[in-house]
């Protein structure tokens, strides 16, 4: 997505990314970024929280208007929960799941090879 933003920007369309993976977006360098510090999946606000969703959209537009130089990051203040355990839990690898993940990887590679033989490509992503 960051690469698409860079391409649009370089061709005359100002862009802003609204997202939740700040390390990935800043690693790529983008013109304007608004960071919502939530678990991946709801960068526009919590599900069914219309007031928060409207506020985030409004602040994203404001950041669009305010940015004067590339690499501008704005962090929005919204909090997901009092419970911060989702940060540690995402894609965690430890002794409790290492053997399961190894087996899952083997199964996935087998599925990918079978799909490839059928001419279909499967996404290689955390699911």
């Amino acid at each position: 997505m960051s690469l698409t933003a860079r391409h649009l920007e370089a061709n005359g369309i100002p862009t802003l990314i609204l997202g939740s993976a700040i390390d990935i977006v800043e690693h790529c360098s983008v013109p304007r970024y608004v960071h919502v510090d939530f678990p991946l999946g709801n960068p526009c606000g919590k599900p069914y929280d219309e007031a928060m969703q409207l506020d985030i959209a409004e602040q994203a537009l404001q950041a669009f208007a305010d940015a004067t130089k590339p690499g501008t990051t704005v962090r929005l203040p919204h909090r997901w929960s009092e419970d911060e355990s989702w940060r540690d839990a995402y894609a965690r690898v430890d002794e409790s799941n290492a053997a399961m993940l190894k087996k899952l990887g083997e199964q996935r590679r087998k599925e990918q090879e079978e799909a490839k033989a059928r001419g279909v490509s499967l996404l290689n992503q955390i699911t």
């Binding site: 013109p31 069914y48 969703q53």
Partner: protein, 158 residues
């Protein structure tokens, strides 16, 4: 209780794929600086295109990750997100407005905070190949934005 900190997604993903047994680490796109195009006119007078990594919830969108364009209004009831990497333990994507901000932007159009929504929003596939993004998908998104008269773009990755 764990404290708030920025989740290191690149490191977590590398560790996760190593644990799955993949031997080659994914290398995220990296640039030292970014292009910058100042706004030609105020946001309140600009036409905005929304771009998402979610695919349309249609037979085509479920089967083929590709560039798709869908009317911005009315917003779709659902989008296909099952194949994307988001936090499936902490949340869900059943409310499209939580990742595709069409309804709230339409309200901001009505409040004169945004000029207009472009006729279509676009789905862009997240592909393993950065070359495919740069050489094929991004130019196609640009062409479709221009065709719709979009003047600014809001990109919302899940």
């Amino acid at each position: 209780m764990a404290a708030a900190y920025d989740v290191p997604y690149m490191q977590r993903t590398r560790d996760y794929y190593r644990a799955l047994g993949y031997s080659r680490d994914y290398r995220w796109a990296h640039h030292e600086d970014a292009p910058f195009q100042p706004l030609a006119k105020p946001v309140a007078a600009s036409t905005l295109a929304v771009i998402s990594t979610a695919m349309p919830d249609s037979e085509a969108g479920r089967q083929q990750r590709a560039v798709y364009s869908t009317p911005s209004t009315p917003e779709p009831d659902s989008m296909y997100t099952a194949e994307l990497a988001w936090d499936k333990n902490a949340t869900h994507t059943e409310d499209v407005n939580s990742f595709l901000p069409l309804r709230q932007l339409q309200r901001l159009v009505e409040a004169d905070r945004l000029g207009a929504l472009a006729q279509h929003f676009h789905s862009v596939p997240t592909t393993y190949s950065q070359r495919e993004t740069v050489e094929t998908d991004a130019p196609e998104i640009l062409r479709r934005c221009q065709q719709d008269g979009a003047e600014i773009a809001l990109l919302v990755p899940l």
